[in-house]
């Protein structure tokens, strides 16, 4: 009985749903389209529930860390405190000024500065890494990499009189870069197709328990 519930019922639900959605995209039959849209809508609902479940799991994990006074428990406390503060505005009635003011304050004084700091940190780290690249690696690839970085940066917003850099930048982006990007996209697409087929035929069952 447990094996039926853990393995076979999820597979029975997954298989027809996946086939209907796939066929709905391949064969735009009205019936299939209707079923496809319904299944997609239900999947969206399940995903929303999964997000809520993940939120509760985060709360549980960090509450446990605070209770056990494990390493980094203060960070868990700050996280839970922030979560509580962020849950307040949505609970306020729609259209109230307090709600908008709180949202703006959270965004302007918490989220945005934190985001900006992370972005600046990334910029500074990349700059330092580029500065010290030839200190550890004296290779052609390192030199070539640095030349490309210089061209792209100089050609993105070139100064006047350096319009040629724009052409070189465009050539680099539209030829080797785009080729690499296409290869990545093709690989992603093929992998997605294979993973989907494996899921459909039951080769992988991430939805069932072992």
């Amino acid at each position: 009985m447990s094996k039926l519930v853990r393995q076979w019922i999820p597979f029975i639900i997954f298989l027809p749903a996946s086939i209907i959605v796939l066929l709905g995209y391949l064969m735009p039959v009205p019936g299939l389209l209707y079923l496809r849209d319904k299944l997609v809508e239900w999947a969206t609902i399940v995903a929303a529930f999964a997000l809520l479940l993940g939120t509760f799991n985060i709360i549980h994990v960090h509450v446990g860390q605070i209770r056990r006074r494990s390493r980094g428990w203060f960070s868990s406390f700050v996280l839970l405190l922030t979560l509580l503060i962020g849950m307040i505005p949505p609970l306020l009635p729609e259209g109230t000024s307090l709600r908008s003011d709180l949202n703006r304050a959270v965004l302007d004084y918490v989220l945005r500065p934190v985001g900006a700091a992370l972005a600046a940190l990334i910029f500074f780290t990349l700059a330092l890494a580029a500065f010290r690249l030839l200190r550890t690696r004296h290779t052609v690839a390192s030199v070539l990499f640095l030349l490309v970085v210089i061209l792209v940066l100089a050609g993105s917003v070139p100064l006047e009189g350096m319009e040629q850099l724009t052409l070189w930048r465009a050539a680099i982006i539209h030829v080797p870069a785009m080729a690499g990007a296409r290869g990545l996209l093709l690989g992603v697409a093929l992998g997605t197709v294979i993973a989907a087929l494996r899921l459909i035929i039951g080769g992988e069952r991430p939805y069932s328990e072992p």
Binding site: R132, R135, L159
Partner: protein
């Protein structure tokens, strides 16, 4: 450990089976955290070998190569018999791993072909038969172990030498034995049995049965032994008529007709008639007194008259005729003591008794006890103790009794000279000084004569003769057999001296065989036990001391001091020194990468340059207004986007997908602002959607920044599930949007939107405002036509503002962007030059 729970390797908390991450700390849990039983399907911990539920084996056993496998016959367990002979089974092929264990258990009566055909199908998988294989392996191991045990037992038996039978004392040859012992010679040498003809008359009856053919002819037997024929020769049994009376009762029943006639019996045997011939039973009147008691009751009238009885038998009269009891005076001396109790008045007068019977007074008549002086020597020891003063004087004792003095009166022992020849060797033990000299003893008694020199325990006890026989000197009638006995000598032994009336026969000293010597009772020295002097047990000897030995502490002896040599002592001291000293492990020098002064200077240099470049560029226009960097903008991408949006006519609907987070908001807001302003200027209704959780906040902030009228936009709620949410959004749109504006800095969102819009099958216009980093990722879609136009980064936004004449913050931030770019380029060049001239570091050389 619970079967359904697994423990996190980091925090140790319990998690549900199959979990990929720890619920407490988020640590990825190792896969394969449980083993599924192939039999029952229960989950078991990884370390289990057997299932906790059904005890099936979880870990497969290592299989041996096929060439190494050898067929093992099924073990024989308990009392079960092998169904098939081992020779036949060895010829069979190794059984399959599934069904032959059943065939092996079947009885031999069932033919093998039938059993195999009727056998059950094999199990499905090898995993399920693991426990069967284990059982067989265990049984094979047991058989192997049993075989090994048998092998070593066999070897042990072979190694042990055969135990030789215990040594037995070599018995003396019958020729060495005295005559009176020949009858009790060990049976191990039946071939050494003395021919019956050589035996004395009185022993012929007790000759060994192994040589019945050597029985002495009856004619040669003395009268009193003629009835005692060896039982193994029934054909040689003496006729009942020839048997003496006392032997007639015990005569073999097979030949009752062979009984010895009563007339031929000696006087002292006439009373013992064989019971097998009751018709021949001696009348009670004929029986002697001493035998009348034991006379067959069937014929009491056949008792021998007392007058016919020999003197020594007259007292032993049958009790049935008590009136026929021999008077005491008629009894021989030696029998007077054993007169029948029923008729003590019938005791034979002492004068009438032979010398050798005169000392035997009937015990029932102690008042009639023969005085000790009257008793023969050999009976004085058994004289009634009540009347020791009645000992018979030695002079009156017959010769053959004179040596047997009563023990109560050792001073009355008969001198050796007065003892009969055959008793002279049997001296009383209480009077060792009265031992008869060996020279006086007859030959046949010399063997049993007590040793003259060694006193004490070496003296042989008095061996009563097997049969009592009268002395000729007492009555004047020496039986022939006695004379012959004196004349008969063993082969090789000196001839016994002639028995003379009143003479003394010197007995040869007998050689006691070792086995007989070993049987000699050893007088033990009496143990002197302390006598208790106090308490309830006072006066008793052998009382245990109340102080237990256990309570007394044992005195421990100190062990001898061990001799310690210098070398081991030095090693021990060295070891002790090493153990006591703290261990100093040399720590390897660990240098963090970039932790030196140069790395710090470089970091600070980069930081300062970037800050000066960016902040300075932002502050200079405020300090020096109108100053700006001469930047060349590429307006072609911006021109494409501008054209598409410009082509919208009211009332158009624009679906704006805001797919960036807070981290990308600083750049993307600058890109999104001119696009949204343009859409609003065109009168398009904005439907803002997002699949990011924080997208709604960003959108509200954006709209507030651009002061968009609330009537021109609608913020749709968050849609989760990535591509599925996008698909649902596109499916839920009530009308086809005029343009789809994608604002994202993430490649995944760009791909999802492009894929979902293309999958709808409808012709949708998709324009994108992207981050500068997504330019290479978006180029394929632009070339493919899936993306109609795209605007990249701050430069593109600035170009769009300049192209549309739309004021925005992008142009203000452009100088800072250019300065930052130039600063990074400068740092790269400087670093490359410095490090190229300085050479690679140690990390680079590794």
């Amino acid at each position: 450990m619970s079967i359904s729970m697994i423990y996190c390797p980091k925090c140790g908390s319990a998690n549900r089976r199959g979990s990929r991450f720890c619920n407490e700390c988020g640590e990825p849990l190792p896969t394969h955290t449980a083993l599924r039983c192939p039999m029952c399907g229960a989950m078991n911990p990884v370390g289990n070998v057997y299932c906790d539920r059904c005890q099936a084996r979880l870990v497969p056993m290592t299989a041996t190569p096929p060439e190494e496998k050898r067929y093992e016959p099924p073990p024989i367990k308990g009392l079960s018999l092998p169904t098939i002979p081992l020779e036949e089974k060895k010829e069979e092929a190794p059984p399959a791993a599934t069904e032959d264990w059943l065939a092996q258990l079947r009885p031999a009566a069932i033919p093998q072909d039938v059993t195999r055909e009727e056998s059950l199908p094999p199990p499905e998988t090898g995993r399920e038969a693991d426990w069967l294989e284990q059982l067989r392996a265990a049984s094979a191991a047991q058989e192997t172990g049993a075989e090994e045990a048998d092998a070593w037992l066999r070897q042990l038996r072979e190694s042990i030498p055969p135990v030789s039978p215990p040594l037995e004392p070599e018995p003396l040859a019958p020729a060495e034995l005295p005559d009176w012992l020949r009858g009790v010679a060990p049976p191990e040498a039946p071939e050494e049995a003395v021919p019956t003809a050589e035996l004395p008359d009185w022993l012929r009856g007790v000759a060994p049965p192994e040589a019945p053919e050597e029985a002495i002819p009856t004619a040669e037997l003395p009268d009193w032994l003629r009835g005692v024929a060896p039982p193994e020769a029934p054909e040689e049994a003496i006729p009942t008529a020839e048997l003496p009376d006392w032997l007639r009762e015990i005569a073999p029943p097979e030949a009752p007709e062979e009984a010895i006639p009563t007339a031929e019996l000696p006087d002292w045997l006439r009373g013992v008639a064989p019971p097998e011939a009751p018709e021949e039973a001696i009348p009670t009147a004929e029986l002697p007194d001493w035998l009348r008691e034991i006379a067959p009751p069937e014929a009491p009238e056949e008792a021998i008259p007392t007058a016919e009885l020999p003197d020594w038998l007259r007292e032993i009269a049958p009790p049935e005729v008590p009136e026929e009891a021999i008077p005491t005076a008629e009894l021989p001396d030696w029998l007077r003591g054993v007169a029948p109790p029923e008729a003590p008045e019938e005791a034979i007068p002492t004068a009438e008794l032979p010398d050798w019977l005169r000392g035997v007074a009937p015990p029932e008549a102690p008042e009639e006890a023969i005085p000790t002086a009257e008793l023969p020597d050999w009976l004085r020891g058994v004289a009634p103790p009540e009347a020791p003063e009645e000992a018979i004087p030695t002079a009156e004792l017959p010769d053959w009794l004179r040596g047997v003095a009563p023990p109560e009166a050792p001073e009355e022992a008969i001198p050796t000279a007065e003892l009969p020849d055959w008793l002279r060797g049997v001296a009383p033990p209480e009077a060792p000084e009265e031992a008869i000299p060996t020279a006086e003893l007859p030959d046949w008694l010399r063997e049993v004569a007590p040793p003259e020199a060694p006193p004490g325990p070496l003296k042989s006890p008095i061996v009563p003769p097997l049969l009592e026989f009268p002395s000729e000197t007492a009555t004047g009638e020496i039986p022939d057999w006695l004379i012959e006995l004196g004349k008969e000598v063993a082969p090789g032994a000196p001839a016994p001296p002639e028995i003379e009336a009143g003479g003394v026969i010197e007995l040869a000293r007998a050689e006691i065989p070792p086995w007989l010597e070993a049987m000699r009772p050893r007088p033990e020295a009496p143990l002197k036990e302390p006598v208790e002097t106090e308490g309830l047990l006072a006066g008793l000897s052998g009382v245990l001391s109340p102080v237990l030995k256990l309570e007394v502490p044992a005195v421990r002896k100190r062990p001898p001091a061990a001799e310690i040599k210098e070398a081991p002592l030095a090693r021990a001291q060295l070891l002790q020194r090493l153990l006591t000293q703290p261990i100093e492990v040399p720590q390897p020098e660990v240098r963090r990468r970039g932790s030196g002064l140069g790395a710090r200077i470089q970091g600070w240099l980069v930081t300062v340059v970037l800050i000066v470049a960016v902040v300075g560029t932002l502050l200079v226009p405020r300090i020096l207004p109108g100053t700006s960097l001469p930047v060349h903008l590429d307006t072609s991408p911006a021109r494409s986007v501008y054209g598409i949006i410009q082509g919208l006519s009211a009332p158009a609907t624009a679906l704006v997908a805001l797919e960036y987070g807070v981290a990308e908001a600083d750049e993307m807001n600058l890109v999104a602002e001119p696009l949204l302003r343009h859409l609003l200027r065109q009168g398009a209704h904005l439907s803002i959607v997002t699949t990011q959780p924080e997208g709604k906040l960003i959108a509200e902030d954006m709209l507030r920044t651009i002061a968009a009228p609330e009537s021109l936009y609608t913020i749709v709620e968050y849609r989760p599930a990535g591509a599925t949410g996008i698909s649902q959004l596109l499916a839920g749109a009530r009308e086809k949007p005029g343009v789809i504006l994608l604002l994202t800095a993430r490649p995944a969102s760009l791909r999802w939107w492009i894929e979902q819009t293309q999958a709808r099958g409808e012709k949708l216009t998709l324009v994108a405002g992207l981050s500068a980093a997504l330019e290479p990722a978006a180029a394929p879609y632009l070339n493919a036509g899936a993306l109609q136009a795209a605007l990249y980064g701050l430069g593109g936004a600035a170009a769009y503002e300049s192209e549309g004449g739309l004021p925005g913050r992008a142009t203000e931030r452009l100088d800072a962007l250019v300065a930052g770019h130039l600063a990074v380029i400068a740092l790269i060049l400087i670093g490359a030059i410095i490090h190229t001239l300085a050479g690679p570091s140690q990390e680079g050389r590794r």
